[in-house]
Amino acid sequence: MATPLVVETPVIRRQTQAGDIVARWVVTVFAASILFVTALLVYQLWTGSAPSRLKSGFGFLTSTQWNPVTEEFGALPFIYGTVLTSVLALLISVPLGLGAAIYLAELAPARLSDALTFLVELLAAIPSVIYGVLAIFAVVPLMRSHVEPFLKSSLGFLPLFKGPSLGVGFLTAGVVLSIMTVPYIVSVSRESLLAVPREQREAALALGATRWEMVWQVVVPYAKLGIFGSIFLSLARALGETMAVTMVIGNDPKIRASLLAPGYSIAAVIANEFSEATGATYQAALVELGLILFVLTIIINAVARLMIAATTRKGSKRS
C-alpha cells in the first residue's frame, strides 16, 4: 500500500495550515464514523441478544428445539441449514466458477474475456429477491417434477435423497445460492489466474506440458491463495444470503439428513419471524442468531481478504 507521496511546500502560510488541519479533521471524523457504525452494530447485537444469552447460555448453540410458543429457542437447526445450503452451493459453484475463470483467463481472447466477465459480474448485481422470484416460479417446479424424482430413482438408496419431492428444501436453496455466488468465484479467481507470471506458464509448456497440464498443475496452484480467497468470499455471501433462501428453503426448523427435505437458515428465520416476534426472549433469540451469523461471516471474510491480499502481494513480487 503506497501512501501517496506528497511534497510539503517549505513555506506554509499560517491560514492555509489552519485550513489543512480543519480538512484533515473533517475527513478523519467521517472515516471514524465507519468504525462507529460497526461498533454500534456489535453493541446492538450484543445487548439485543442479552436476554436470550443469559437465559440459554451456550445451550443455545446446541439445542435443536425452536418453539416460540413454549419459549424454547435453539440455534442448531438454523446453523445446520445455513451451513448445509452454503456447502451445497459451493459444491456446484466452485467447479463451475473455477472452470469459467480458467476459460476466461487462459483460453478466451482478451476482448471476449472482458465482455463475458462483465456479463458474469452482472449476475452479482441482480437483487436477491429477484433470484427468489425466479426460484419459486421456475426452479422449484423443475426440482419437484424432474430433478428430485430423478435423484430419488437413481440415488435413492442414499439417505441424502429420501422423502417426498417438495421442490423446496436444502437442495433447491443450494442450487439457487450456487448461481448467486458463482460471479464472485469467477471474477476473483480470474484475476488471480491473470496475475500468474507469464514465465510460469512458459516454463511448464517448455517442458512439454499440454495446455491443460500447464493450467491445472502450474497456473492454478500458483494462484491457489486467490482462488481459495474467492471461495471464502462466496461462502460468506452464501451464509448471509437472505431473500432467495427464505423463499425456497421450506422454513421448517428441523435437522434432516435428506437434501430434499425442507429446512431453515439463520437469515431466513430472522427475515420471516423478526417483525412478528413477540416477547423479549423470542426477539433476543433472533438477534442472537444475527450475532452468530455476524461472527461467522466476519471470520470467513477476514480469512478471504487475507488470502486475496497475499496473492496480489506475492504476484507483484515474483512477476
Binding site: R13, G19, Q44, L119, I130, L134, F137, G290
Partner: protein, 283 residues
C-alpha cells in the same frame, strides 16, 4: 504418438472444452433470468402498475405506485446520508491517511461490506424502530446507508489512488495548500471513477429487501412521511411472490422487471459509459 501422449491430449481437449461449457452455463444463467423476467414481467406490466395503489388481497388490478415512490424515497435518503460520509472517508483513506488509524478504517470498511444485509437491518431496527416504537422509512434508509458507506469509501479511495502523484506535486508546487489541492485537482481527476462507484453502490442498495423487512416494513397506501412504515419495490416483490394469488404473482414479475431494469441500467451505464477506459474494481 505414444499411448500416454494420446491420453494426455485427450484429457487436454476434454478439460478445455469443459471450461468453455462452464462459461456458457454461467453466462446462460444471466440470459435465462432476464428472459424469464421479460417474458412474465413484460406481459404483466401496464400503466396502472406505475400509477395505481395496490388493491386488497384477491382483487384483480391495481398497481405498485406507492412502492415505486417509497423505494425512491428510501434510497434517496440513504444516498443523502451514505454518499457524503463514504466519499469523505474515502478521501481520508487516500489523501490524509494515518499510519494506524487508516488501515483500521480500511479493514473495518471491508468487514462491514461483507456483513449480511439482514444483520445490518438489525442495527437500524435497534437504533430507530425500538425507540420510536414504529417501523419507518427512515430506519430503512439508515440500514441501507450503513451498507452504502463502506462501498463508496473503498471505491473513492481506489480511484483517488489512481490519480498520479505528479498532479498532486504540480498543484503543491504552484502554492496550493493541501486541501485545495485535493479539492481542485485530485478529486476532479478521480471524479469519473468515484461517480461510477457511487452509482454502483446506490444500484446495489436499491435492490435490497432483507434490511427493509423489519425497518421500513411495508404499506398498502401512499407513504405519509418517512417516519411511517414505507412500501418499497423489493419488499413488495417478496410479499407478492409468496402470496397465493395469481394476480399478485403477476405483479411480482412486473415489479421484478422494473427493479432489474433500473439496477442493470445503472450498472451498464456506470461501467460501460461513464467508466469507459478505466477499470472498475468490485465492491
Amino acid at each position: 504418438m505414444s499411448n500416454l501422449l494420446i491420453w494426455r491430449k485427450g484429457v487436454n481437449s476434454v478439460m478445455l472444452t469443459v471450461t468453455g461449457v462452464f462459461t456458457v452455463i454461467t453466462v446462460a444463467a444471466l440470459f435465462l433470468i432476464l428472459g424469464y423476467l421479460v417474458y412474465y414481467g413484460g406481459s404483466s406490466l401496464d400503466w396502472n402498475f406505475f400509477t395505481k395503489l395496490p388493491l386488497s388481497a384477491g382483487e384483480t388490478g391495481g398497481g405498485l405506485a406507492n412502492a415505486i415512490l417509497g423505494s425512491l424515497e428510501i434510497v434517496a435518503v440513504a444516498a443523502l446520508i451514505g454518499l457524503p460520509i463514504g466519499f469523505l472517508a474515502g478521501v481520508y483513506l487516500s489523501e490524509f491517511p494515518d499510519k494506524v488509524f487508516a488501515p483500521a478504517v480500511r479493514y473495518v470498511a471491508d468487514l462491514l461490506n461483507g456483513i449480511p444485509s439482514i444483520v445490518v437491518g438489525l442495527l437500524a431496527w435497534g437504533l430507530l424502530v425500538v425507540p420510536m416504537r414504529q417501523f419507518s422509512g427512515l430506519a430503512g434508509s439508515i440500514a441501507l446507508s450503513a451498507m452504502l458507506i463502506p462501498i463508496v469509501t473503498r471505491q473513492t479511495e481506489q480511484f483517488l489512488r489512481e490519480v498520479p502523484n505528479s498532479l498532486r506535486e504540480g498543484a503543491l508546487a504552484l502554492g496550493a495548500c493541501k486541501w485545495k489541492m485535493v479539492a481542485t485537482v485530485v478529486v476532479p481527476a478521480g471524479s469519473k471513477g468515484i461517480l461510477t462507484g457511487m452509482i454502483l453502490g446506490v444500484a446495489r442498495i436499491s435492490g435490497e429487501s432483507a434490511p427493509l423487512l423489519f425497518t421500513a416494513f411495508n404499506n398498502q397506501f401512499w407513504n405519509g412521511s418517512i417516519m411511517q412504515p414505507t412500501a418499497s419495490l423489493p419488499v413488495m416483490i417478496y410479499f407478492r411472490a409468496l402470496s397465493p394469488y395469481d394476480d399478485w404473482h403477476r405483479q411480482a414479475w412486473a415489479a421484478g422487471l422494473v427493479l432489474i431494469g433500473m439496477v442493470l441500467t445503472a450498472n451498464i451505464l456506470a461501467r460501460l459509459v461513464i467508466a469507459r477506459g478505466i477499470s472498475v474494481p468490485r465492491g
